[in-house]
């Protein structure tokens, strides 16, 4: 038996495991740059990436260089940020609301984002100045503002119910707009957007997503111990010296910002934010100091791999990534749940 009260980080194999996960993530990004309609050898992709980073020059055809660097790498990096951000947000919300079913969209942000997106896509709100992304972001912020009065005080059930009500309201608005304003083709494109799509992301999106997710992760890590104190409820956390109200508001705002930003970039990708935190908890336990980085790594890795599958599963067609995350992830998760029952 290991010493249960020994110092944190006293087990070096944990660091090795973390390092292995980082390497696996890097490898998956290189793979993501290689797969696609025009297959590229992984070594060539690596060289193209090195060229892009200014570590070259390696002899890579210009068109290949362009595909790898301008299209596939940026796409893979946004996917990674998206997976990391959603998984971390899910873990935070599950701890804060003490609900295993909490996920990044529990406060109605994705529903608000979809309303914002269809307002721009179908009704042309903003007169072309507002892009779909900005519209979605504003919609998510609006949904957050709607539930904000419920966040400062009161129990977590009240918060979740407020989020459910907001979700229903904005989903109904979205459905109303689609039903009254969209033709069949538009309805299809709206549905694709709602299921999540990484099509069209470029480098500026990478900087935005990476900046928001990294900053958010740092804030959450700084609150890791306070989150641990929530294990026995809010009163228990308060009696351990945690300023429950302000902390809850801060973390809901941070996860809300991460989620709003990611939803506006790639749509409401489901499953990742709900399930990855449970997988991570199964691997490293409930302590948030380890749980949050683990969530970020697994979430990123899962999302990059899911995007590869989305682009290659059906020839000449890219599936919505939300479909893949759930199709691949749900059985995998069921397996883990089953195994977990045997282990315990």
């Amino acid at each position: 038996m290991s010493l249960p009260l020994a110092a944190e980080g006293a087990r070096p194999w944990r660091w090795l495991l973390g390092l292995a996960a980082v390497l696996a993530l890097a490898a998956s990004v290189v793979l993501a740059a290689s797969f696609g309609e025009m297959p590229i050898a992984p070594l060539t992709s690596l060289q193209a990436i090195a060229n892009g980073l200014g570590l070259g020059p390696y002899p890579v055809e210009r068109i290949v260089q362009g595909i790898v660097w301008e299209y596939r790498l940026s796409r893979a990096l946004v996917a990674a940020c998206c997976g990391a951000g959603l998984a971390v947000s899910g873990a935070i919300l599950q701890a804060l609301l003490r609900n295993a079913l909490a996920e990044p969209y529990v406060l109605g942000l994705s529903a608000g984002a979809s309303t914002g997106a269809v307002l721009v896509m179908l009704l042309g709100v903003g007169g072309g100045v507002l892009g779909v992304s900005l519209g979605a972001f504003l919609g998510a912020v609006l949904a957050f503002a709607v539930v904000l009065p419920f966040l400062g005080s009161g129990g977590s059930t009240r918060i979740i119910l407020a989020g459910v009500a907001a979700s229903q309201l904005f989903n109904a608005l979205t459905a109303y707009i689609v039903a009254t304003a969209a033709n069949a083709e538009q309805a299809r494109s709206v549905m694709f957007w709602l299921l999540g799509s990484l099509a069209g992301v470029r480098w500026p999106d990478v900087w935005l997503a990476a900046g928001v997710v990294l900053a958010g992760l740092l804030v959450c890590l700084a609150c890791a111990r306070a989150l641990d104190a929530f294990a026995f409820g809010e009163d228990a956390a308060a009696s351990l010296g945690v300023a429950v109200g302000p902390l809850r508001l801060l973390l809901l705002a941070v996860t809300g910002l991460i989620t709003a930003c990611l939803v506006s970039l790639v749509g409401a990708v489901g499953f990742v934010g709900l399930v990855i935190p449970h997988v991570a908890r199964f691997l490293v336990g409930p302590g948030h100091g380890r749980l949050l980085p683990t969530c970020a790594l697994i979430g990123a890795l899962f999302m990059v791999l899911a995007d590869i599958v989305a682009r290659t599963l059906v020839a000449k067609q890219t599936l919505p990534i939300g479909v893949v995350t759930a199709l691949v992830g749900a059985p995998a998760f069921a397996f883990i749940l089953y195994r977990a029952r045997e282990v315990r």
């Binding site: 038996m1 249960p4 020994a6 111990r225 009163d235 228990a236 009696s239 351990l240 300023a243």
Partner: protein, 254 residues
């Protein structure tokens, strides 16, 4: 001086729970809070722990109003063991006890040898050293209660508040927990239902009824047949034949 409530009032959902309660907790020793269900014992403990702000009056710690203390500073002095602590998280006993160090650790403080030492001592005090690696969900009710007390002790409190710590425990574990509480080097306030156990283990008793303090003093002064009849509506015979002349109570039917 320890914790003191002066003229505090508190209500929940428009229903008055506590009214005009003034109570000074004597430093050292064990103060027992007695009273029927719904008399306001738990609420008073929550006010004393600083988890709720009194609507009237004030609670102070060593003459300093609780409202002016920082949450974290308060948590280093006052620890609370709730009535039924539950969690979904898959924690070990050691991890539960480690939570008690939360108020003592700054943002960048690593887990120190002193933290480990305090937790180890807390585990030893409640007799859970050999169960440190056990999972919370595999513990019995008594073990959970002891783990929570160890977590509270890891906070190194000068005052420890316990809300019905013997609830749902068999008599052996009730006696164990109360004996443990009595020997702790902290001022203890505990809500308790069993009058005989309260008389046996508490140095002073305070009796609440309908949110008001109706009696306070040494067990022998407080627990009289008249008071028991008046507060609980139960006929009882009280004899001062316990250890050190403490009262023992026999209930009468009809």
């Amino acid at each position: 001086m320890s914790l003191a409530a002066r003229d505090v009032a508190w209500s929940a959902g428009g229903q008055p729970i506590l009214a005009g309660v003034t109570l000074a907790v004597p430093p050292g020793g064990v103060l027992g809070l007695l009273g029927p269900n719904g008399s306001g014992k738990s609420s008073l403990l929550r006010l004393l722990a600083g988890l709720r702000r009194p609507e009237e009056g004030r609670v102070s710690l060593d003459a300093a109003p609780l409202a002016e203390l920082r949450r974290r500073d308060l948590a280093r002095r006052v620890a609370l063991v709730e009535q039924q602590a539950g969690t979904e998280a898959d924690l070990s006993v050691a991890e539960v006890v480690r939570l008690g160090r939360t108020p003592h650790r700054g943002l960048l403080d690593a887990w120190s040898a002193r933290d480990a030492e305090v937790c180890q001592r807390a585990l030893a005090q409640v007799g859970l050293v050999d169960k440190a690696a056990r999972r919370w969900h595999s513990l019995s009710g008594g073990e959970r209660q002891r783990a929570q007390i160890a977590r509270a002790l890891a906070q190194e409190p000068s005052e420890l508040l316990l809300d019905e710590p013997t609830n749902h425990l068999d008599i052996q574990h009730q006696l164990e927990i109360l004996d443990l509480v009595r020997r702790l080097p902290a001022t203890c306030v505990l809500a308790i239902h069993d009058l005989n156990l309260a008389a046996l283990f508490c140095d002073r008793l305070a009796v609440l009824r309908d949110g008001r303090l109706v009696a306070e003093g040494a067990p022998g002064e407080v627990l009289t047949a008249e008071l028991i009849q008046q507060v609980w509506g139960v006929r009882a015979q009280v004899t001062l034949d316990g250890p050190d002349g403490r009262p023992s109570i026999r209930y009468r039917l009809g």
